[in-house]
């Protein structure tokens, strides 16, 4: 069946099969490989996208049910010349090792800072609890979030994650 949705501000259509997730359609049909395909069961958050204003796991959205939705993926965050402030902060803080988790974390952080810019360090941890990183140890991720928040004292970033 044909599904029409808005991805990063552009109207897109895709031919989808019943079993396909939004993640699959973004990656395999629309060529947007930013959202990563890892667990396919909502556990890792590497496929996080913003779906009608909410942070979701794209692997758990049935593509056929995404008709008419507005989706923002990591590709939609930066403008033509500049990185999104959250991306900048992740780069500056070295919050990336293999990078597999990074698109999901960046999207989740960008969403958090839109919804709740003054999140406390504990609230940040709770907000990112669904995004797993097997490399960095989270300290640098939390520092990046604090930097993106504009906090001078990233309290809690060096606590054991």
């Amino acid at each position: 069946m044909i599904v029409t949705l808005e991805v990063n501000g552009e109207r897109r259509t895709a031919e989808v099969a019943g079993w396909e997730s939004l993640l699959w359609v973004l990656r395999e049909r629309l060529g947007l490989t930013g959202a990563k395909d890892a667990c396919q069961q909502g556990e890792c958050g590497s496929c996080s996208v913003i779906f009608d204003g909410q942070l979701v796991c794209a692997c758990l959205v049935m593509a056929a049910d995404a008709e008419g939705a507005q989706v923002t993926t990591v590709e939609g965050l930066a403008d033509a010349t500049d990185l999104h402030p959250v991306q900048r902060a992740y780069v500056d803080e070295g919050a990336v090792q293999c990078g597999y988790c990074t698109p999901g974390l960046v999207v989740a952080t960008a969403h958090l800072l839109t919804e709740h810019p003054d999140a406390t360090p504990d609230e940040v941890r709770e907000a990112l609890a669904g995004n797993l990183c097997r490399c960095t140890g989270y300290g640098s991720v939390l520092r990046a979030v604090a930097a993106a928040q504009g906090a001078s004292d990233p309290a809690g970033a060096d606590r054991e994650a």
């Binding site: 019943g18 079993w19 069961q41 909502g42 909410q54 796991c57 049935m62 049910d65 669904g130």
Partner: protein, 267 residues
């Protein structure tokens, strides 16, 4: 695969009338895991998220489409507490109470709350509506009384809910865990206490002997708490699986029930 995306209850019920065997899709947080990993291939899907009637929350009536994110911000302390333990923000943004009931996992986190307050499950099909007590709806692991052509419309809570209520859950991490044991306790001003536990039986269970012990007491002594804990441990029927052994669950159920009750007692 064929998909229907109804916008209101009438359209939904008409759709289900013509496809009584259709698979219902709410937030997809259980169903899509099944589709992705078990290669479940539904032939007909009826998507529920556009049906406004299912998203209503009107005092004691909570629509099936109400998400954990909304429960977290809602008026019932134990429901808010349990919602906050579910999955991650991504899961809480889309996962619904109707989906938790539809899945009917023995570990479903809304179920101890619904059982402790004696909620009813409201289901509808074209031209018919039924209200089932929670234990008449939850029949076993992943098994409910829902008939082909029916949809869960929501849950009806009793008119007055005890203000003293608490939910607690044991798992290996604070976030993203399915309960090893979960528990909800509610206690009236006059001491009447109800307790329900999940993941320690085929479906959520109440433990009447333990309830009775503490219900007649305004003051609950330490000895009585010991006895309460023992009665809960004796009454549950857990199994051993990859999350925990039968013995651990039995012990944990007693301890968790006691701590949850303590939170409902005056300090």
């Amino acid at each position: 695969m064929q998909i229907e995306r109804p916008r209101d209850l009438d359209e939904l019920l008409a759709g289900l009338d013509s496809h009584p065997e259709a698979t219902l899709l709410a937030g997809g947080t259980d169903l899509m895991v099944d589709v992705n990993l078990s290669h479940h291939r539904p032939e007909t899907v009826v998507a529920l998220r556009r049906v406004d009637d299912l998203a209503t929350w009107d005092d004691g009536f909570i629509g099936a489409g109400v998400t954990y994110a909304r429960m977290e911000a809602g008026p019932h302390p134990a429901l808010a507490q349990l919602a906050r333990t579910v999955g991650s923000p991504q899961i809480r943004a889309t996962g619904t109470i109707g989906g938790n009931l539809g899945t009917a996992s023995p570990a479903g986190d809304t179920l101890p709350f619904l059982a402790a307050v004696d909620a009813e499950v409201v289901v509808a099909s074209r031209g018919d509506r039924r209200r089932l007590r929670w234990e008449d709806f939850l029949l076993g692991p992943k098994h409910t009384a829902l008939r082909p052509g029916e949809v869960i419309v929501g849950v009806q809570l009793p008119e007055r809910l005890p203000q003293r209520q608490a939910f607690a859950k044991i798992g290996v991490r604070q976030a993203m865990v399915i309960a090893t044991v979960n528990c909800c306790v509610v206690r009236d001003e006059d001491g009447k206490t109800r307790i329900a536990l999940g993941a320690v039986g085929p479906t959520v269970v109440r433990t009447p002997a333990a309830e009775e012990l503490v219900s007649s007491q305004q003051q609950v002594s330490a000895t009585m708490l010991d006895e309460f804990q023992r009665l809960v441990s004796d009454d549950v029927t857990p199994i051993t699986d990859h999350r925990a052994t039968e013995r651990y669950r039995r012990h944990a159920a007693g301890v968790l029930a006691r701590r949850t009750l303590e939170r409902c007692l005056p300090r």
